[in-house]
Every structure is written in structure tokens, then in C-alpha cells.
């Protein structure tokens, strides 16, 4: 996700991580095209989204993570992020925000968005910590204390 966000900077990047339905496990990374090609807005390309959705449907997968980047602001859902996601969004998904405003350190935060309410949730890094050395993860939702690996 961070590599994708870096590659598309200064435009916002967006994508998904799909996983087997009902497991909540993010297994398959699907970088998406930002049809808006904008530094301040993102929107899935409608045709590509349909293709990827059909593939997920055929594989009995669901969206586990829906991510996008902010290129100049905090890794926190904007008013329009929350508004659009609440009106018609992906209710089971973790909405992950990556900010690329700092060229050295990417911040990664995760949220649930439903009925206009944004709730931050912790990210705990597992697996190979050396692979994420320059990323900051907010892992306590109340105070947003960054855990810098």
C-alpha cells in the first residue's frame, strides 16, 4: 500500500486488499487506478472496479481493506471520505489511510466508517518488522501514539 502510494504521489492512490469471504483476512492486494488522477480526490475507475469485483465474486472474496493516500494532509478520513463511505460504502472494510506528505516517513492509520461516524482502530504490525522500518503505524486509537518501526 505504501509503495503504491509513493509511486502515485503527488496524486492520491487507492486500492483494495481482498480476502476469503467471512474471514476478515487481507490476502490479495489489488492496486486500483485513481480515475480522478488528482492530488486531492480519488475515485475507483468504474470499469476496473467492475472487473475486480467480478473476480472477487468468482473467488468468494470480499473487500477486507479499502485504502487510499493523502498527499498533503494527515492519514485521517476527510469529510468527503466519511460522507461518501457512509452513504454507500463498504461496511465490512477497514478504511486504511496512508499519507505521503513526508518523503521519508509514511503514516498508516486504519478506520471503520459507518453512518457518518469515523472510528480509528489499532494496527499491530506482525510478520517481518524489518520490511516496514520507515513506516509509522498508529496503534492506539484514542491518542494516536505512533509506533515507529
Amino acid at each position: 500500500m505504501v509503495a503504491h502510494a509513493r509511486a502515485d504521489h503527488p496524486d492520491e492512490a487507492c486500492g483494495l486488499i481482498a480476502g476469503p469471504e467471512g474471514t476478515g483476512e487481507p490476502k490479495r492486494h489489488i492496486p486500483m487506478t485513481n480515475a480522478a488522477r488528482s492530488t486531492t480526490f480519488y475515485e475507483f475507475d468504474a470499469e476496473e472496479w467492475k472487473r475486480e469485483y467480478d473476480r472477487m465474486w468468482d473467488n468468494d472474496e470480499e473487500v477486507v481493506v479499502a485504502y487510499h493516500s493523502h498527499t498533503h494532509t494527515e492519514a485521517y478520513p476527510s469529510r468527503s471520505d466519511a460522507g461518501i463511505a457512509s452513504q454507500l460504502g463498504l461496511p465490512g472494510a477497514h478504511y486504511v489511510l496512508v499519507t505521503t506528505k513526508d518523503p521519508e516517513i509514511a503514516e498508516v492509520r486504519s478506520f471503520r466508517i459507518a453512518d457518518g461516524v469515523v472510528t480509528e482502530e489499532p494496527i499491530e504490525v506482525t510478520g517481518a518488522p524489518e520490511a516496514v522500518q520507515s513506516y509509522k503505524f498508529a496503534h492506539t486509537p484514542d491518542s494516536t501514539v505512533y509506533d515507529c518501526h
Binding site: C14, W49, K50, H72, S80, I84, G92
Partner: protein
């Protein structure tokens, strides 16, 4: 005339959690009117009070985005598959 409609997770509360429902209609607009008789409230999530598609919903006939083929006036044929998807979008 039977049209299969794939329902996204967020709208499944309207369809008793059915992922796929069937409906009838000559056009996408008629299809949503028909579905609303059995799946109350579904139409209003997709169609505005002014009778247009909501900005942040995508509706496809087979693989085609209906915005490019007439919107709610887009014609349906027996055996078509309609998919409703949230338009995943946002901005700072």
C-alpha cells in the same frame, strides 16, 4: 423477462441479506421500481428524489456502466445481469 441483480453488502439489509435477487423491467429505472416493491428502500439508495442515479453509486448492465448507455433509461434484455456497486471515492 428476468434480470439477475447483484447486491453489494451495504444494500443487503434491504434484501434480507440476499446477494443476488431477480427483478423485471424494460429499463434500469423500471427494474429498480420493481425491486422496490419487494425490497423496500432499495431504490432510494440508488435513485435520487429527482429521479437520477446517485453520484456515488455505479450500476452496470453486464459489464457496461449504465451512465454511458442512458442511465436509468438504459434498456434491459432477458438474461441480462445487473450489478450495483458503491463508487469508492473521497477527497481531502
Amino acid at each position: 423477462m428476468s434480470i439477475e441483480v447483484r447486491i453489494p453488502t451495504i444494500l443487503r439489509p434491504h434484501t434480507k441479506n440476499e446477494k443476488v435477487v431477480t427483478g423485471e423491467g424494460e429499463t434500469v429505472g423500471e427494474l429498480f421500481a420493481d425491486l422496490d416493491t419487494r425490497y423496500s428502500g432499495l431504490r432510494a439508495r440508488v435513485v435520487t428524489e429527482e429521479g437520477a442515479l446517485h453520484r456515488f453509486v455505479n450500476v452496470y448492465i453486464n459489464d457496461e456502466d449504465v451512465r454511458f448507455i442512458g442511465g436509468l433509461e438504459a434498456k434491459l434484455a432477458d438474461g441480462d445481469s445487473v450489478t450495483i456497486l458503491p463508487a469508492v471515492a473521497g477527497g481531502m
